[in-house]
Symmetry: C2
Subunit: 185 residues, 2 copies
DNA sequence: TGGTAAACATACCGGTCGGTATAGTGGCAG
DNA sequence: CTGCCACTATACCGACCGGTATGTTTACCA
């Protein structure tokens, strides 16, 4: 509908396409975003999009992989391996809180993809990879796989609640609950 | 695509449309199901659909309301107000486990709707109503609003994990974790 | 029996979808 | 200078989208 000003024209066509795809898929939804809109936002034609990606499905999978790498990079930044477990668990939630405060939170991209394109096998593989990431990280932090699994579920549930209510409060409550799970005593 | 055998022709056109909408919206997705397919499955024409519903958006909202009422009815069935809190919390998860065993689990319809049609205000209102239901029920059961909130998040997170992994195991783990939250001692 | 309302079948509307084809253009490397 | 390749622009494909308009048939009820 709205032509949406193209993002900065830096980088190769491929990079711009992936950046445009991320913005549109994440903010507007995957099924509701057409390839035409992505190409336009990248300042590129549809033909160029199909020169760089086999299909929309592949573009979706690569968008998700980019999100996965970004979340890994972010974890490296905010996680302090020398901090106590409670602080490290809290950091996971505080990262989401910061995102919400900045106003660019639109729910968990992996949960959304699992709902929107469950038939895209490549995309679903990335979704599972992300879940394994979170549980793995939390297992390393807490030293307890069962706690890690529970906290991961709280984490996902909190993001849904935050999205549905349009409020950051669920994240704060989830953080408290998750930290409370550690060393019940 | 596939013409899908029409469901039993019992009831009024409106009832059949809602039943068809539930099956298709829930199993195939909301945005990926066209009004034509719903009408066909109900054994009815598109004109009849629009005689009974103002728009697709309204049909979506009414489908969700139906799901809400069904989940309330189910809760009335499986919940025993005289049972101990742990059993009542467990019952919530065991209901999901039964659904998965029967093979007709496709994720939480409310979470899915929040992702697929966040712009449908009527639908989103039902989503929030459902969340309030769950938290309210759990608050009554546990006598503790904070625990109720945490368990609700575990509940939602577990359904995502179950959907993404195609496995009922996350629900069982979530049940254990939720029950473990009660009277930590 | 006659009237009414609902559901019928069909066709159409403008728009968008993912994807392809064709032809031309610019810059860079040999 | 030339050949090549990524890119451009544009137009098209068949399919489907949500929604509307038409006239006909069916069934029930006064």
């Amino acid at each position: 509908m709205v032509e949406t000003a193209p993002t900065a024209k830096r980088g190769t066509a491929r990079e711009r396409l992936l950046r445009a795809a991320e913005e549109l898929f994440y903010c507007e939804g995957i099924n509701t975003t057409g390839v035409e809109a992505i190409a336009a936002r990248a300042g590129v034609t549809k033909a160029t999009l199909y020169n760089n990606f086999r299909s929309k499905d592949q573009l979706v999978a690569e968008y998700l992989r980019g999100k996965l790498e970004k979340s890994r990079a972010a974890a490296h930044e905010y996680d302090d391996p020398h901090a106590p477990a409670s602080a490290r668990v809290a950091a996971l939630f505080e990262d989401v809180e910061r995102t919400i405060e900045q106003g660019d939170f639109h729910g968990c991209p992996f949960t959304k993809a699992a709902v929107e394109v469950p038939g895209n096998a490549d995309a679903m593989a990335v979704v599972r990879e992300h879940y394994a990431d979170i549980v793995g990280h939390l297992t390393a932090v807490t030293g307890d796989a069962a706690s890690a699994d529970t906290i991961a579920m709280i984490y996902d549930g909190a993001m849904i609640a935050a999205k549905a209510s349009g409020d950051a409060a669920p994240i704060a409550r989830a953080k408290t609950a998750a930290v409370g799970l550690l060393d019940p005593r």
